[in-house]
Each structure stands twice: as C-alpha cells, then as structure tokens.
C-alpha cells in the first residue's frame, strides 16, 4: 500500500535536527569534565534515571511517528508514518461511533433494519472490537487469557533486560549471579535497578497492548469510531514536538539578546529590555490567535502549495511552535541578562580584557559556557509547561489543527462527551493519563537536572568536602 517513497514533513526535519543536536551535545559533554560531572549526578539519582527511561520511550514513539511515507490509499490519509504501519490494525478498523473500552457492542442504540424488514433499535455488535468472539459471554475469559499471554511476554523481555544488564556489570561484581543480586539489591554504581524497574513496567504495558489491542478497543473509540489508544499514541509526537521545538526556537533569541544586553549594556541593553518588556506585556493568547488567523488566510490563498491535509496540519503545528517560541523567550532572556551582568564584572572577564581578547571571543569563551547551566535548567523545566500549554491552547481552538491528533484535541472533544448522558469518559482519561505520565517524567528529570547544574544547590559530594571545610573555616 506504500506507493510513494519517503516524505519528509517540515516538523519531521525539525525533530531530527533536534535529536542530532542532542547527540552533538552529548559528544561534546563527554569530553568536558565540567559537563560530565553534573550529568553523572543526574544519572546517579534513581528517580531521574527512571524518568529518563519514560521520556526515552515517549521520544522513541515520537521518532517512529516522524518517519513518513506517501500512500495512494482510498482512505483520507495521504501520508502515513512508521507508527501508523505498526498500528495498522488500530488505524484501519474504525467503528461507526463511540464504544467503551473492551466493549463488544456500541455505546449507543442504533436503528437496525432486520432481515424481515422490521426496524429495531438495539446496541449493535462492533465491527472490530471483540469481533472474533462467537458469544459476548466468552469475553472475560478471552481477555484474561490474552492478558496473561501479554504479561508473560512483558516479563520475559524484562528478564532479558536484567540478564543484559548483569552481563554489563558481570566483571565488576564477579559472576553473573552476583551481578543480578547486586542489581536487584540496588548496589550497583549505575542505577540499574530503577532503570530496569521502569523498563519492566513499560514492557508489561507493551505486552498487554500487543496481546489485546488487535482484538479489542482497549481504550474505547471516539465519536467517529477512531481507536482512542491510537489517538493517544499519535498525540505523543505532537506533545514532544511542541515541548522541545518551542524551546529550541526561543533559545537563539534568549541567548543572543540576553547575553548581548548583559555584556554591552548601554543602548543595546535598553533596546533589549524595551523589546522584552513590551512583548511580555502583550497577552500571549492574543498573539497566538492572531498568528493562527494569519496562517489560515495564507494557506487558503495558496491552496495549491498546501494540497495535502497532513502538510497543512504540519505547518500549523510548526507555526504554533514558532509563535510560542517567539513569545516565550523573554523570561529566559531576563535570567541570562542578569547573569551576564553579574559575570561581566567577574575578574576573569577583566583579565581577558586586559589580555586584549576581543568581545566576541570573551562572550564565546567566558560568558556562554558559564550561563549554559541556566539554559539547561530552563529548557527542561519549560518542556512540561509547554506540553500543557498545547492542551490549553487547543482547548480554546487556537492550538494545533483539528485534524491532527493531540491531547489538546482529545480534551477539547471531551467537553461535549462529558455533557452527554451516559458520559463518555475514556477519551479524556486516556489523554490525561498519557499527558500526566510525560509531564511527570519531564518534571522529575528537570528537578534532577536543576539540582545537578545549579551551582547554588550543588550537593555535598565526597570531593567537595574539603572545599566545604575550607569555606566554613573562612566564614
């Protein structure tokens, strides 16, 4: 069914550029002790390591969802991703309307014409949910059987992961069995126990999904009969993109303007301050609404360039990231300006000036590396806020395109679903749970990053005891 080749949407390119720059940062950080030490501290925290696994899982989903192919299917989708292909059974078996999780029958009564011509109102059987069952009474047993199978699969992969970790740790602990015991007891230098625990939980959920999702709508279906699990999974990419791309767009503004204002002071500082005080006093929602409207007009004027639905939705997502990025650099810029104002008076900057080092080199060599911890802390802290902002903006209809899967769109739809009787709760719950897990993981990780990078919060490690003893004696 894949007719055309690879299609690279603009947001795909952005996401892969982000991943590439993260990798580049990693290779640079490996070579510098002052970057490696705080990251070691982050990994040494069990909670942070666990959160990193969750984040990694979400990012993996987003990446798989960002490899697109063109199709010439009769379905409305003209571009599908690798994730769509993997979730083929979820994507291509829609119901007609709402159905509850694990249901075999529709959620609302429909008018059915019986073979004898009489009209009857009943709850019809679903097209794909539980369609393999002869009688709906077999359902509990069937679900239990499949669930056990799925859990076994998850456990097996968890055990395999433990074995793999034990192989890595074998040399240090002397023997595979001893390494296993050390990992389970949490006595290893790397936080294997928390990594494996979280990994195992994910494996169990994946196993359940693989065993159940092809046969049932695990999280039910929405108004037009689309599987909610599929929607929630597709929303991961939207959330991750908005969370990361927005900060990436705002970084150059914040860094360049903040550091320039702090270093050059005078008229440059005045201009930058004027800019960000003005920008931050305009309500962000207003700017975003205006930008969304402009883009809509632009796209309808140039309908021939935005022919595919996916391309239009994609552009709208990018525009949202852009406008969020342009309006959200002000707080980081303020922090960077203040820090640079402080740093430029530090004596190593004066020493560089006395040596005749030019301003660009002073900024590059002395100021930027010493404000990067602020950038790192703000970036990870802002991520979760932006994921939530997407939901809020979409809820008031100025967020992502309605045709694009996003948690905001799911929550927006739930507004009406909750008002009907009986209420449809699964869309909202699914969106909330997915978003909650991602944001929680991001927050836990961000806390660890801040503690490790903020020089004021630096913990008392074994190596800093001597310094501390000296400091207290100076006090």
């Amino acid at each position: 069914m894949i007719q055309g080749g690879l299609v690279v949407l603009a947001s795909d390119a952005c996401l892969f550029v982000l991943v590439a720059s993260a990798l580049a940062y990693w290779t640079i950080a490996r070579r510098h002790e002052h970057l490696r030490a705080p990251w070691r501290e982050v990994w040494a925290r069990p909670a942070a390591a666990g959160a990193a696994v969750v984040l990694g899982f979400f990012i993996a989903i987003a990446l798989v969802d960002s490899i697109h192919f063109s199709t010439r299917d009769e379905a409305q989708d003209d571009v599908v991703s690798l994730l769509d292909l993997a979730l083929e059974s979820l994507r291509t078996h829609p119901e007609t309307s709402y159905s509850a999780p694990f249901a075999t029958h529709a959620y609302s009564r429909e008018t059915v014409r019986l073979p004898d011509g009489r009209v009857h109102r009943e709850y019809p059987r679903l097209v794909s949910g539980g369609a393999h069952l002869v009688a709906p009474t077999e359902r509990p047993a069937d679900i239990a059987r499949r669930a056990v199978l799925g859990l076994a699969l998850g456990l097996a992969s968890g055990a395999l992961a433990l074995l793999g970790a034990a192989c890595v740790e074998r040399r240090r602990h002397g023997g595979l069995a001893a390494a296993c015991r050390a990992i389970v007891g949490g006595r290893t230098r790397r936080p294997w126990r928390s990594l494996l625990a979280v990994g195992c939980a994910i494996a169990l959920l994946l196993g359940l999904g693989i065993a159940l999702a092809p046969w049932y709508h695990v999280l039910g279906t929405d108004k037009v009969g689309t599987d909610v699990l599929y929607q929630a999974l597709k929303s991961v990419r939207t959330g991750i993109l908005i969370g990361s791309l927005t900060t990436f767009i705002s970084l150059p503004f914040a860094l360049a303007l903040g550091v320039a204002a702090g270093y050059f002071r005078g008229p440059v500082d005045d201009a930058v301050q004027y800019l960000y005080t003005t920008l931050s006093s305009i309500p962000g929602v207003l700017l975003i609404a205006a930008a969304a409207l402009l883009l809509d007009v632009h796209m309808s004027r140039h309908a021939d360039t935005f022919d595919s639905l996916a391309a239009r939705a994609d552009l709208r997502l990018l525009a949202l990231c852009g406008i969020l990025g342009i309006t959200s650099w002000t707080s980081l810029c303020r922090l960077l300006r203040a820090e640079t104002l402080k740093l430029r008076e530090v004596e190593y900057v004066a020493a560089a000036q006395a040596l005749g080092v030019r301003s660009p080199a002073i900024i590059r060599r002395h100021l930027l590396p010493n404000v990067m911890h602020i950038v790192m802390i703000t970036t990870v802290l802002d991520f979760s806020g932006l994921v939530l902002a997407e939901a809020a903006l979409t809820y008031i209809d100025i967020g992502v395109d309605p045709s694009m899967e996003s948690w905001g769109n799911m929550i927006n739809a739930a507004r009406l679903e909750l008002a009907r009787e009986p209420a449809v709760w699964w869309s909202l719950v699914a969106a909330l749970v997915f978003m909650f897990v991602l944001v929680l993981a991001a927050n836990v990780f961000a806390d660890a990053v801040r503690d490790a990078f903020d020089p004021r919060l630096r913990r008392v490690g074994a190596e800093s005891i001597a310094t501390l003893a000296q400091e207290t004696s100076h006090r």
């Binding site: 004066a350 006395a354 002395h366 501390l468 100076h474």
Partner: protein, 543 residues
C-alpha cells in the same frame, strides 16, 4: 570538685568529621581547651585548620555535612552536647555570645538595629517597655555608637562597616553572656577600624569579667587581645601557651614557621632598586569618576570621584606599592591605568605614549605590555576552562607564541617558571589550592611577556606562609625578567618586604609618596602616621 576550680569552658577530646561515616574526613581531632572567667584565649591557625568549626561545634551550630563524633564541651561544668535543643537555645545568646567575621551578613537587613538588640534582651533577660528601651540605648552607647537613641531606629545599611561590627558586638553582649566567641571579628575591617574594635572588645571583656574565645589568623591581632594563645593545624592543637611565653619562644616547629613567614615592618631584605632606570609608566593627574544616575531616563545627576588628580611614576624594574584602606580608590586606579575603566581625565603614559588617547584596536596591541593579577584567584579564572587554555589565552589574543604546539610548550615552560608542574595544564582551576591558583594567574600574566604587572592585593586572601612564597616568587621574577610592579595592598608589612617606593592613598588622592624608608619610618603626612600607628605590633602593649 570545688565549684571555683571548674573552668568556664572546657573542651575535652572534641572530634568533628565530614562526609561518609565509612571514610570520614576528620576536621577536628582530639581537641582540648579551657577558658577561665576573665580570660581571653586566642585560637590561631591557617585557613582550613578548623578554627571556625571549633567555635561552631561549641555552640552546636555545625553545618549539616559535619558531625560531632567524640568528646564534650562543658560550660560551667554542664555538658552542652547532652542538652536538648530547646535548652541549647537558652544558652546561645544568654550564656554564650557570638560575633561573626562579616557583620554585613550577620545583621538582619530588614530589622532596626535597636530591635535586634532588644530581641535578645527581651528573650533572655525578660526586659519590657521603657526599661528595655533604655537598656538598648545604653548597649549602643557602650560600644561607642554616637547618638544611640537615633541610631537604634536605623537599619544596618545606614551603618558604616565599623559601626556594623560595633552593633554586632552590642547584640552579642546584650544577653550578658559569660563567654564571648569572636570569629575573626576584624578581618573584614581596615587597620584603623580594627584597632578600635579590638580595644572595645578587650575593654568590655575586662569590665564584665567574661571569658573570650577569639579566633584569628593574624599574630599581631592575637598579641593585642590574648591572655593565652592556642595554635591549630589540620584540626589538631599544636601548642597552647601564655601570651608572653608564646611570643618569646614558640615551642612548636609549626608555630616558629608561621612566625618566620610573617612580613614585618622592620624586616627589609637588601633589595636595592635599580639605579637611574628610565621611567616606564607615568600617570599624570588621573581622574576616574562614577556617574550617579537617577530618574526614568537615567540622567547623570552627579559624579563620585573615585580617583582624584593622581600622579605617579614607575621606573623599569621598580616596584611601587600603593597602600590605603578599603574604599580609598587604589583598585579603581589600578584598573584605570590598564584602561579597564573609562578615564575622566589625565594621562597614562607608557614609554612616553599616552594610553588614554588610544583607539580600542591600538590599545589591544599595547595590552600585552601591561598585565594584572587579581586578589581573588578563584574569581580570576574561568572555572570551565583548562589551566593550559587559561594561560594560553593571552598568547592567542595577541597572536604570540607561534603554532599550537609551540604555545603548548610555552605554557609548560611558564607553569614551571611559577613553580607548578607542566602536567597541571590539563587540569581545571578548582583542583588547585589558593596559592597555586595565584601562581597560575601570574603565569597567565607572564605569557604575553609584559613589562609592568599591576598586582591588586594578590596575597591578601592567602595564608601567611603561602603569602611569603608568592612574594618570593614575585621578587624572583622581577630580578630575572626585569619586571615593574604596581603593587596594591593594605598590608604595610608586605610593602616593607617587596617595594622600592610607596604611595599612600586616601579618599582617591595620593597623600604621600616616597621611598619605603621615608614613608614607613619617617612619615610626613598625618594619615600615614595614623595608618602606621594602627598596625598591630607584636611586643607593643595595647592601649
């Protein structure tokens, strides 16, 4: 045991540790001290010797990372370590008063000074109403604060540095303590203020018959206040002796080494200045001003003249020391000469060429001839750069030293020249001690082959023994490379040891200038005489 034979304070076998219980770092090891009523014990030692930790351990105010793992502290025969925390709060402030080094941080900035004293009296003496107010005024008057009624209603930012420390003493004495712990109370103050505060402390201690534990690193200060002296090294007590006996003949080798490292006014090595050398740097009528801006448009409403009409000259191979108290404008002048600050007027002629009139680009090329070494070697180096890159930075900026490999070789050579190892180039600054870091800063300055180095208090953050090493290094470099130094300091002992000529700076002006012999031993100006009189001298009785 007879009550009168119990000492006021007895520290017995005190042990304090840092870090994990399995492999602790021992900060204080088996410390024994006693203080009688009316007696002053001075605890001396270099940084990191555990002086302040001892004081904090006595009041059980140790930082969270530190633990008391042995011994006890008895106040009037009662063990403080077994008291519940609630009872301990009744001891602090009431029985034991505490004075810190930095009054700026120890005073609450949003509370009136009078209220801070009243708080102690209210809590520990139960005073109220009119009586409390009179006692607060009396307390401020006793520590020599003029107009105490008005001053009691002011906040700490309205007080000068010396007055803050006086207020701090008033707070510490407000609970009428039996024991006063003073942790380097004069280190942050100028010598003239230091002399006043020491006199005040000593007088109050005698009048009240308090015991005093006085912590300092300065042997001159110790002489002025001590009845007995205890020397700490690496958390261990090296020696305890009565003042007279200690200063006549210290028993321990470490104490003797500390004495030997002390820069003394009298001591002057045969260190002749080069004869008839041509003038290298001439400063004429230099003025540096800081604008005071006000209002929405930040208009300049007034100017503070930090350096006012200063003229001086330095010959090739000569050291000119600039002395003065904090705020006298000596650091500002040093930076102004290097044009790190904008000049308001005057000329800085380097080999006859006026630096004040040069463009940025032309100035950048001249910068290699004039270098600077700062006081705080920790702030003077980018913590994110390797030592090798730090030393090489000037060579890169000035396009010196040729290829990358040649520069690396030069960095190794420079590190050896300042007494470090070539392998240190691959380390970060935080891996070095204070003295080593200052050596790196000197190497960085030397890398561009300068002819004049401005040394801005390069040794005042260092211990005396390290200070002596750095001064020896600077003198050695001067003789080998023919460098000139503009040496900014507040320590007259250092001046006597290193300088050829001295300029005394006071409120932005140079009040007296001349050879070391003239200025230090036959001062012409009143201010110079005051400055010299305030230096604590070992052997002279405090007034």
């Amino acid at each position: 045991m007879n009550a009168s034979s119990v000492p006021l304070l007895a520290v017995d076998g005190l042990r304090v540790e840092f870090g994990p219980a399995a492999a602790p770092a021992i900060a204080i090891n088996d410390l024994h001290l006693t203080i009688e009523r009316g007696e002053t014990l001075v605890l001396v030692g270099e940084s990191g010797s555990g002086k302040s930790l001892t004081a904090l351990a006595i009041t059980r105010l140790l930082p969270a990372a530190a633990r008391i793992t042995g011994g006890g502290v008895w106040l009037d025969g009662a063990n403080l370590f077994t008291l519940p925390s609630a009872a301990m709060t009744k001891i602090r402030g009431r029985r034991i008063g505490f004075i810190f080094q930095e009054p700026q941080v120890a005073l609450n900035p949003v509370m009136r000074i009078g209220d801070q004293i009243a708080e102690v009296m209210q809590r520990h003496l139960g005073l109220r109403g009119a009586e409390l107010r009179t006692r607060v005024t009396d307390a401020l008057r006793a520590v020599g604060i003029p107009e105490p009624e008005r001053r009691a209603r002011e906040y700490s930012h309205q007080y000068s540095g010396g007055m803050k420390q006086r207020a701090m003493i008033a707070i510490a004495l407000a609970g009428e303590p039996d024991l006063l712990i003073a942790d380097e109370p004069t280190t942050a103050l100028d010598v003239t203020l230091q002399a006043q505060i020491l006199d005040l402390l000593k007088a109050e201690q005698r009048r009240r018959g308090m015991g005093m534990l006085f912590i300092t690193h300065d042997f001159g200060v110790a002489w002025q206040v001590a009845d007995r002296v205890a020397v700490l090294k690496g958390g261990r007590l090296v020696e305890t002796a009565p003042r007279g006996a200690f200063y006549r003949a210290p028993r321990d080798a470490y104490s003797r080494a500390l004495f030997a490292a002390l820069p003394k006014l009298e001591r002057r090595a045969s260190y002749e200045r080069p004869l008839a050398a041509p003038a290298l740097l001439e400063v004429e009528n230099l003025r540096i001003e800081f604008p005071i801006r006000k209002g929405v448009f930040r208009r300049v409403v007034d100017r503070v003249r930090a350096v006012d009409d200063v003229s001086l000259a330095i010959a090739e191979g000569e050291t000119l020391a600039v002395v003065g108290e904090s705020g006298s404008g000596k650091t500002t002048m040093g930076r102004g000469i290097l044009r790190l600050l904008p000049l308001a007027g005057g000329a800085v002629r380097f080999r006859g060429e006026d630096l004040a009139g040069l463009s940025e680009a032309a100035l950048r090329r001249r910068r290699r001839h004039l270098q600077i070494v700062f006081q705080d070697s920790y702030a003077a180096m980018n913590p994110r750069m390797l030592v090798g890159d730090i030393v090489a930075e000037g060579m890169v900026a000035q396009d010196l030293g040729g290829s990358r490999a040649a520069r690396a070789a030069r960095v190794r050579e420079l590190l050896e020249q300042v007494g470090l190892e070539p392998g240190h180039a691959a380390r970060y600054p935080h891996e070095f001690s204070g003295g080593q870091r200052q050596r790196i800063c000197i190497a960085r300055a030397l890398a561009v082959e300068p002819t004049l180095i401005v040394c801005d208090e390069p040794t005042s953050a260092l211990d005396v023994s390290v200070q002596a090493q750095i001064l020896d290094l600077l003198r050695d470099l001067q003789q080998r490379l023919g460098l000139s130094f503009l040496f900014i300091t507040h320590n007259l002992g250092v001046v006597a040891q290193l300088a050829h000529r001295v300029a005394v700076m006071h409120r932005g002006r140079i009040v007296e200038q001349g050879t070391v012999e003239q200025v230090l031993f036959a001062p012409a100006h009143d201010y110079t005489r005051q400055l010299l009189a305030a230096v604590p001298k070992i052997g002279a009785e405090a007034t």
